[in-house]
Subunit: 194 residues, 2 copies
């Protein structure tokens, strides 16, 4: 029961549950281990799960017709990851999720998520608030993309996600910022010579 408590507190740090509730929650989660270079979701697949990242790093990206990749987000410790647009509407993925640093994940299905909402209303509140924060961060990103030039977007990125910066390749960051790897290289050089 000790290690179970551990999982629960990892995922739902702020929430308190009864023993019965804990057991109920645990029955819906499954641990997954993924290696660098593996994919937990491919474009076109049905999206039935969301994942909580215990450790490691993943990236969610979109691939356009020319094969260019655009990173929507990185996920490290304590983040949830999925193609949420598809997950919420129980439809097919338009995104790919790649493991870029060996990771341990807790996996839960959409059905389980909804069952838990019914059984434990606090969980619906928990996920609602998570959503609100994710929404806010997306809003910030949209404004940043509209209002800031590439250099400032890069600076904002490394300030906002100092932990992620260490785990990912520069070309991943470039694809997150929406610029070419060469441009990022020049920006870095430019910043270095201040």
């Amino acid at each position: 029961m000790d290690s179970n408590d551990c999982i629960i507190t990892e995922i739902f740090k702020e929430v308190l549950f009864s023993e019965e509730e804990k057991q109920n929650i645990l029955n819906h989660f499954e641990t997954v281990q993924v290696k660098k270079g593996e994919f937990i979701l491919n474009e076109g697949e049905q999206v039935n799960h969301q994942y909580f990242v215990l450790n490691g790093c993943l990236r969610t990206y979109f691939t356009d017709k020319q094969g260019k990749e655009y990173t929507l987000q990185f996920a490290i410790k304590d983040w949830w990851v999925s193609d949420f647009t598809a997950f919420f509407s129980a439809s097919k993925a338009i995104m790919t999720i790649e493991c870029i640093q060996e990771a341990t994940l807790y996996k839960i299905s959409k059905q389980s998520t909804e069952d838990l909402y019914k059984d434990i209303p606090q969980l619906e509140t928990f996920f609602r608030i998570k959503m609100e924060k994710a929404f806010a961060s997306f809003q910030k990103r949209i404004l940043g993309n509209l209002a800031l030039p590439a250099k400032e977007r890069y600076i904002t990125f490394i300030n906002t996600y100092p932990n992620i910066e260490k785990s990912v390749k520069n070309y991943h960051i470039a694809s997150y910022l929406g610029i070419a790897t060469e441009s990022l290289s020049r920006i870095r050089k430019d910043i270095a010579t201040d």
Copy 2:
């Protein structure tokens, strides 16, 4: 009671309530009438309310240091509007909300929203799902801004929001797309001569 039913069904179309619940909900809402050119929120103000748009049109925009405006979103009939980032965290607005076409709004405070979540769990579900959809549309916008050139973004916009297009000035659309008004003008010309 008839007109009250009307308000409730306007806002929460999909949800069914008891008479008691309806009365409870109504006690928390207030009708607001705003004229073109008026503001329902200014940058720096405490954000305590969100608004449901019954009719008319508003725009939420961010202003940078140089005074340039970036439209985050338009709101027409059936949309909710606020500086949600600030609303969720009960903090100060970084956005301005301007009425660009005379509008009727239903207004509710953050406190009231949370009280209603406790009294009527269906409402928390309702708002959670709203959030999920808003999150999905923001995700789409981020990817569009990263992956598409200005012309394609404009075409996507007028296809996605044909109703909004009629209500707003071209320079509002330009500020939504993140381009100069002159560029939008040239894109429109370009599209016209196909």
